[in-house]
């Protein structure tokens, strides 16, 4: 590896390393984190590579200060990220809420591991899916991406930075120990093939009193520090100019709705799914590592003559309700496959149940990616 940000080429690369390379390719300049299995390789790679391209990685005293420093660096104008696992996300949630409340672009990688609590650090589960959407207090929307491979660890991290900058929001990469630690072919494109978005900021020299830096459903320009914008940035309920309002309920309602609508209004542009369910009676819905098993099961099922398709959620949040409904209208049976006790399942079921039978299938033991044979057994059962 040399001093170039974009290490174009074909590699046999670990998922976590690909994630770090994606961040660097996207223009990340600041990273802060705390060691935690199974995410530490991201920190190691950033620590080694960022200083060669003008950035730096800081190991902070805990995950709380890690995300705080990321938010501070973002307000200083830098593309910033952190990487951790479930226990670290739990610590970060208050400050993630802060980032949402003041509309701060940043990328948060969660390489999910056996949970709850200390759990099983080197085993992947999909146990923190709802945490990403509801873990911090209050109503809010979030963007999350679920890579299924080391290639996607690279691609989705680039995309995460672009989403974060475009919509001025934290963006989660919800990976897991399997995808993080597996090695597979990764192609890093030429630098000019990689799109890089930077947040809109007010024009230099704008009168600070004229700046409306918050609560625009089409994303307000970010009055970053150090430019004379004299931004007042508080996660207290505030108005479009950042003025605190702790009294008027109408101001609170606006604060809540504007922040959520900023994401929901652009849901169609944000949502990414991979569909392969044309003519299918049974559709397997999955995301992340489990989607690899779903695909294998669907191929095998079709060989046996079963009309099976797949719908892979690349962005589980904002919840892709339109895509779920569209799929459910064409299917007879929806089987939701997750490596947990059913986290996306209730949301998918609520959307799909009016149109289709919906069931949930975990692996034989939570903590393993489903055996495709196990999925086939379920398919045969619902089609009987």
């Amino acid at each position: 590896m040399n001093e170039k940000r974009v290490q174009s080429g074909r590699y046999f690369m670990m998922g976590n390393v690909a994630c770090a390379e994606g961040a660097i390719a996207a223009g990340c300049e600041f990273a802060a984190g705390y060691p935690i299995t199974p995410a530490t390789e991201i920190a190691n790679t950033l620590a080694e590579r960022l200083p060669k391209v003008g950035g730096a990685f800081f190991q902070m005293e805990d995950e709380i200060s890690s995300i705080a420093a990321v938010i501070g660096a973002s307000w200083a104008g830098k593309k910033a990220m952190t990487a951790t696992s479930g226990p670290g996300i739990s610590l970060m949630l208050e400050n993630i809420g802060f980032a949402i409340g003041v509309e701060t672009p940043c990328v948060i990688v969660n390489v999910q591991r056996g949970a709850p609590s200390t759990g099983m650090p080197t085993i992947g589960i999909q146990g923190d899916m709802v945490q990403a959407k509801h873990g911090s207090h209050g109503d809010y929307e979030i963007i999350a991406l679920c890579p299924s491979s080391p290639q996607e660890m690279f691609d989705h991290t680039v995309l995460a930075f672009n989403y974060a900058e475009k919509y001025r929001t934290p963006v989660f990469i919800l990976s897991d120990a399997f995808v993080g630690h597996m090695r597979e072919e990764v192609t890093i494109p030429e630098a000019d093939r990689i799109e890089r978005i930077y947040r809109k900021i007010p024009a230099p020299g704008t009168d600070p009193l004229e700046i409306k830096g918050f609560l625009d459903e089409d994303v307000a320009p970010m009055p970053i520090f150090g430019q004379g914008f004299k931004a007042h940035v508080t996660s207290s309920c505030h108005d479009e100019v950042g003025k605190r309002n702790l009294i008027d309920i109408s101001a609170l309602d606006k604060f809540i709705r504007k922040l959520s609508n900023k994401i929901l209004k652009h849901r169609d542009e944000i949502t990414l799914v991979e569909k392969d369910y044309e003519g299918a009676e049974v559709v397997l819905v999955s995301y992340g590592a489990v989607a690899r098993a779903a695909r294998a099961a669907a191929l095998r099922a079709r060989e046996e003559g079963f009309p099976v398709g797949t719908l892979r959620l690349i962005t589980p949040w904002p919840f892709p309700s339109a895509e779920i409904e569209r799929m459910a209208r064409t299917a007879k049976h929806v089987i939701v496959l997750e490596n947990n006790l059913g986290q996306m399942y209730p949301y998918i079921k609520a959307e799909a149940a009016p149109f289709s039978q919906v069931s949930f299938l975990p692996p034989r033991w939570v903590g393993e990616i489903h055996d495709p044979e196990h999925i086939l057994t379920k398919i045969r059962e619902v089609l009987r």
Partner: protein, 278 residues
């Protein structure tokens, strides 16, 4: 005839006609001391980024100062300030927050950044109480005081000396003053702004409403007189024994030293990385 104007009003955010401090609150005196320091240095508020946490003292820069201000979650302003300084190394990053925010919930961030000797100026406004939430005991509240959560009197030993803890953690500049010493405070703030390294200033500040009334004190005037009477310059304190120092407030610039500053070390690290030396 043209009218006299307050020289510091130009630093106040135009949309903020009054401070929200209680009458007689020492935080207003601290606010003036900070702005006077910046004024005397001939600096502009745009040379700074201010960071504050949750509590009354955090309302010193937010929303009063007409500058870049980040009002963070409770206990964490120093951690946010770290990231801001990393991204804007040429700006002065100043944290202004209270004793509860910086030393209780935020204690570890204070200790670690003092240890790092990260180039930040941190003002810890110590009023001995959690004022904003109505007057609960803080780690700085003396033993026996009745607060809303200690209705029979506090039973915890309070901090003996916050500044001593910060010195022990490794800060390269530590001073303590009270709101009875606004001119000396301004002088120390000027020094802190101009030097590199972790510069910590503890300021004892009267809270007549939430602390004073509970401790049987009669108001701002009495509390400031009490600070003045109990204060002891550091060089004088050295001559007294422990019994004579009891109940006294040791004020002054307690420590000032040269040691590697973290962000300068980061630059050296980057040079090593780019040069291919590991």
């Amino acid at each position: 005839m043209s009218e006299l104007t307050h020289p510091l009003h130009r630093f106040i955010r135009p949309t903020v006609p009054h401070s929200t401090f209680c009458p007689g609150c020492g935080d207003g005196i601290v606010a003036q001391s900070i702005l006077r320091a910046i004024d005397e240095l001939g600096m502009d508020l745009d040379d700074f980024v201010f960071v504050s946490g949750i509590g009354c003292a955090a309302w010193i820069p937010s929303p009063l100062f007409n500058a870049d201000v980040l009002h963070t979650t409770h206990g964490r302003p120093i951690a946010f300030a770290f990231g801001i300084k990393a991204g804007l190394p040429n700006k002065k990053v100043m944290v202004v927050s209270g004793d509860g925010d910086l030393v209780a919930i935020g204690g570890n961030h204070l200790i670690q950044n003092a240890r790092r000797n990260a180039d930040l100026t941190v003002l810890c406004i110590n009023n001995g109480i959690y004022g904003m939430t109505g007057g609960q005991a803080a780690p700085t509240t003396p033993m026996g005081v009745r607060t809303t959560t200690t209705p029979y009197g506090t039973f915890e030993n309070p901090f003996e000396d916050i500044s001593a803890m910060v010195i022990a953690a490794g800060a390269s500049f530590v001073a303590r003053w009270t709101t009875a010493h606004p001119r000396e405070l301004t002088r120390s703030i000027k020094k802190a702004i101009q030097r590199k390294g972790f510069s910590f200033i503890e300021v004892l500040s009267q809270c007549p409403v939430q602390f004073g009334r509970k401790a049987g004190l009669s108001g701002a005037v009495q509390m400031i007189e009490d600070y003045k009477k109990r204060s002891l310059l550091a060089r004088e304190a050295g001559k007294l024994g422990p019994e004579e120092r009891k109940g006294r407030i040791v004020v002054g610039e307690l420590v000032e030293m040269d040691k590697p500053e973290m962000f300068e070390e980061v630059q050296k690290m980057k040079a090593r990385a780019e040069g291919g030396v590991s």
